[in-house]
């Protein structure tokens, strides 16, 4: 159950990043509200999951889903650069973050 809510939290975070993108396409209140709801419910589910899953592991997975998901949605739906260098650097940042979360 905790793993399930953790993955949903990660997906909601991805949804939040997608809404940040959406906001630059169409600036309206509905998008702002969806954005706040997305990140808010994501954090709530994360803190629920962290009661059962070790902190470092939980954070690492949550961040991982959010960053990768956000980058993919940006590239697929919002015309962000698909340059391989950009993907390599995002992967570098992401792997370092996951490593830091796991050993801290």
């Amino acid at each position: 159950m905790a793993w399930f809510t953790l993955i949903i939290a990660g997906l909601l975070e991805t949804f939040g990043v997608a809404m940040i993108n959406q906001l630059s396409v169409k600036r309206n209140w509905q998008t702002v509200i969806l954005l706040i709801l997305g990140f808010g419910s994501s954090l709530a589910l994360l803190s629920y999951s962290l009661q059962f899953i070790p902190m470092g592991t939980g954070y690492a997975i949550w961040t991982g889903i959010g960053v990768v998901g956000g980058a993919l949605i940006g590239m697929i739906f919002y015309g962000e650069s698909k340059d391989w260098k950009r993907m390599v650097f995002i992967a570098m940042v992401l792997c370092s973050v996951i490593g830091l979360k796991l050993i801290t």
Binding site: N21, F39, M75, G79, E80, S81, F89, I90, S96, V97
Partner: protein, 136 residues
């Protein structure tokens, strides 16, 4: 001869770093300030103990996210979010062993170095006016 050449390369390299990495415009500044404030609210979430520290924490959360979101209106959101999360994590780990007596490990230093290298790389490959503006 060899040292002269490598010296030239070094100068060229430093020039690129100076011109490209530190050519910080308004939007990049927002990303960096947002990440810096993130350090404070992450610390605040675990260490805040009264009304004022909680107020400060909430203000940091709001301002930090506001800056990140507005920067992502111009720069690619995927890049901005990765840097925001990355620098926030690095800063929190550094604050952890500077101020909260967490164990110093070499692995942490190496990971922070690769993280910063990734952030600089992203800064380099991101055009200042991302294609978003041209497209929509």
């Amino acid at each position: 001869m060899y040292s002269c050449l490598s010296g030239l390369f070094l100068i060229r390299f430093l020039e690129i770093i100076k011109v490209e990495v530190f050519a910080v415009n308004r939007n990049w500044m927002k990303v960096f300030v947002a990440a810096f404030l993130e350090i404070f609210w992450v610390i605040g979430l675990t260490h805040a103990y009264d009304f004022w520290t909680w107020t400060g924490t909430v203000i940091c959360i709001i301002v930090s996210n506001y800056l990140m979101i507005t920067a992502a209106q111009v720069l690619p959101a995927g890049t901005v979010y990765a840097i925001f999360v990355g620098l926030g994590t690095a800063g929190t780990v550094i604050a952890g062993f500077l101020f909260f007596g967490e164990a110093f490990k070499w692995e942490k230093v190496i990971l922070i170095a690769t993280l910063l290298a990734g952030v600089m790389g992203l800064k380099l490959v991101t055009p200042d006016k991302a294609e978003k503006g041209a497209e929509s």
